[in-house]
Amino acid sequence: MSATTAETQLLEINLGPQHPSTHGVFRMIATLDGETIVKLKPVMGYLHRNHEQIGEGITYVASFPFTDRLDYFNAMSNNFGLALAIEKLGGIQASERGEYVRVIMAELTRLVNHVAVTGFLLNDMGAFGTPLLYAFRERERILDLFEAASGSRMMCNYVRPGGVREDVPVQWLERAREIVNNFPIFLDEFETLLTENEIIQQRAKHVGVLPKTLAVNASITGPMARASGVNYDIRKVDGYSIYPKFAFKVPLGSVGDVYDRYYVRILEMRESVKILQQALKDIPGGPAISPKGQAISKAPRTFKPPKGEAYGRVESPKGELGFYLVSDGSSQPYRYHIRAPSFINLTVLEDMCLGQKVADAIIILGSIDIVLGEVDR
């Protein structure tokens, strides 16, 4: 049999910045051989808003509303991260109830993020919005909780160094308990729709595999790393806030493909529900913010932390979210930097996409779970 080669032409297509599935203004320059991707170059920066530079020109507390807009799905986690960094920098102790409220909010945020991202992933696979709308139906309930506590559904601006801005309203904890206890029922339904679905398995299994070593080398964090089998969860590793008080597990995947990333998120939600149930049971009374924290949020300009640096990190739903602050003794940070999980997780996009089909590139991007507000900052 003689080997014959056909002359083929590579096709370069621009997926984005205006494209239904790039989750915002993100652009992938994909070079295709037929439908197979031979090269993929991510282009980002379309949503750059100068967040870090702005943060260096305003007081520490004034950065909180801007962190809401980083990863606009997880405002509470972002607030939490910045609050931890400021607390470390200024040596502020948080009130106990404040810690509990913050953890409850952060875990609720995880539920919000994971259901939404699963819905979006399914949309990328081509479902006509049904899983997404079921996810949003549940997400709305949690956003209502956020609104009741903080006054805003998404741009919460709620957490402050030393606790939370104001205590949760009356009856809030009861509402939260009810929603949290009903959440596993919804998760079961969601799984009925998705987990065993042959089309989803066919699409997602062995697609976009991220090997464990690459995940570690590229400093991938969050559900993406855990899907590849890396046992790394800041809540366990760092034990920040009051997480060591709670009993929960860290789900780990084995293959590291899109399906594992999907299922690890589902399992993480189940663990979050456990944390929430414990936290909602044990939450103590008392002030929601420590006196020093109260003073800072009342008069941000009086807060002048000593010279030094601090790095506060949280396990945001997307991965390790770190805030690095350098103080020169004034009321504004000298340097303010964010380690954004979306951005760093995005760096392995090309490695995962090579040799896959166009349709796979879309769901791989969806499974990374990026929010462009955080990628570009």
Binding site: L11, I13, H19, P20, S21, E35, L122, N123, D124, M125, G126, A127, F128, G129, T130, L133, Y134, R137, L193, N197, E198, I199, I200, Q201, Q202, R203, K205, H206, G229, N231, K236, K249, V250, P251, L252, G253, S254, V255, Y259, D260, Y263, V264, L267, E271, K357, V358, A359, D360, I362
Partner: protein
């Protein structure tokens, strides 16, 4: 025959009305008028059907997603399709620079025309078929494959990379799925010995083909291949909006875009209609008379303890009434046909509301590695079914099919089968 007599026999209502109307004309004009009337009716009905299919789809999917769907224009949003049509007509028609203007214009027209032509052989009811061709089924396959040209022309002429990718996918997909689709219909042809749709439906009077082993498998293959041929979820590769933006119709706007949609919806309707005609008994009702069913339902509702009492009473009375009415007047054949067709269309919408789409290569694999061999085996099964006319024939048929399906699943090694465990680490 007086005008009122026309309504005595609901089953033959349309046939009688058309006969009565033609009777008013002079003899020499009647053949021509008959043809013109059929064409006119189809040309008028097809767009109307399409408009309300969009309404049904939007409403049903909305309800599946816990939404209302269109409610604003008219009661229950019933005027929404009209408003959409007007909007489409008013929209600017954009042709990309560098596009082949002529082909760009012809493509959507070429897509709609065969979709409407399919209505000519659709057996809507007893004697209610515009042209009962003796090669009706052949006509269906011949006409429906034209749409692949339209899709490729549209995609190519748009001069857009997404369109070309969508068009290539579309052609590959339509051509591939033609094969299992035709082969699954071969079983029907073997059993009925006819290509005429009228005859095929007639021969399902006692039992619908879907209730035989070969019929069930052929029905599934035919329906799913049909879904793939008309590019609907989960096989909507060519227009995969999350990957290719809009696929072959990315660069279309205004009425041309509406024509693409019309083609898609009419073809979906046609797929449902022909599945009904070939496998689901066409215009025949079920073997049990409907009034028996209605009375059984009445008893069921009346005795259902879980329902509130007034509901039970009203429900049972309505069912008794329906039973009595339909005992006197059997359900017209065209109602059976249309309700079955719309039910299948609902299944299409249901698919769309439930499933994500397959990947292009998996789709091809499904056609060539699963449907095609299964359709071939199914022809054998149909042959086995025909040989001994005894109840024992169920056993070998089911055995062959079960063996074939499990063999194909094993050979294809889908990644569905790998089971995973997830560690819950500390």
């Amino acid at each position: 025959m007086s005008f009122l007599d026309l309504f005595r026999n609901l089953d033959q209502l349309f046939v009688n009305v058309s006969g009565w109307l033609l009777g008013l004309l002079p003899d020499w004009l009647q053949p021509w008028a008959s043809i013109a009337m059929r064409i006119g009716v189809i040309a008028a009905i097809a767009p109307a059907i399409m408009m309300y299919l969009t309404w049904i789809e939007r409403k049903a999917i909305a309800r599946m997603q816990n939404r209302y769907g269109p409610t604003r224009v008219g009661i229950y949003g019933l005027a929404q399709p009209l408003a959409d049509g007007l909007k489409m007509l008013n929209k600017e028609d954009i042709v990309p620079r560098g596009a082949d203007r002529l082909v760009h214009l012809i493509a959507p027209v070429l897509a709609v025309a065969p979709a409407i032509l399919l209505f000519a052989v659709m057996p809507f009811g007893r004697n209610l078929i515009a042209a009962d061709l003796n090669v009706g089924l052949l006509y269906v396959f011949a006409i429906s494959s034209i749409s692949s040209y339209a899709i490729f022309m549209g995609g190519w002429a748009s001069r857009s990379k997404f369109s070309v990718l969508g068009a290539m996918r579309g052609v590959a997909q339509i051509v591939s799925y033609e094969v299992p689709s035709v082969l699954s219909a071969v079983a029907v042809i073997m059993v009925t010995g006819s290509l005429s749709l009228g005859t095929i439906v007639e021969s399902q009077a006692g039992y619908w083909f879907v209730f035989t082993p070969w019929g069930f498998v052929a029905c599934l293959i035919f329906f799913l291949s049909g879904v793939a041929e008309v590019n609907r979820t989960p096989f909507d590769m060519p227009e995969a909006e999350s990957e290719l933006v809009g696929g072959f119709h990315t660069e279309y706007s205004g009425m041309k875009f509406a024509l693409w949609y019309m083609a898609e919806f009419l073809e979906s309707f046609a797929v449902c209609a022909f599945t009904v005609a070939l496998f689901l008994g066409g215009w025949h009702g079920p073997a049990i008379p409907f009034w028996v069913l209605a009375l059984a339902l009445a008893i069921l509702i009346g005795t259902a303890r879980l329902l509130p009492l007034p509901v039970r009473g009203v429900g049972a009375l309505v069912m008794v009434g329906a039973g009595v009415f339909w005992a006197a007047q059997p359900i017209p054949s065209w109602i059976w046909f249309l309700s079955k067709t719309y039910f299948l269309f609902f299944v299409l919408v249901w698919f769309r509301g439930t499933f994500p789409r397959l990947r292009a290569d998996q789709l091809m694999g499904l056609a060539w590695k699963f449907f095609l061999p299964l359709a071939l085996v199914n022809i054998l099964v149909a042959g086995v079914w025909l040989m001994p006319q005894t109840p024992v024939r169920w056993a070998p048929c089911l055995l062959i099919l079960w063996g074939a399906v499990s063999l194909l699943v094993a050979v294809n090694k889908p990644s569905i089968t790998d089971r995973r465990t997830y560690v819950l680490a500390d």
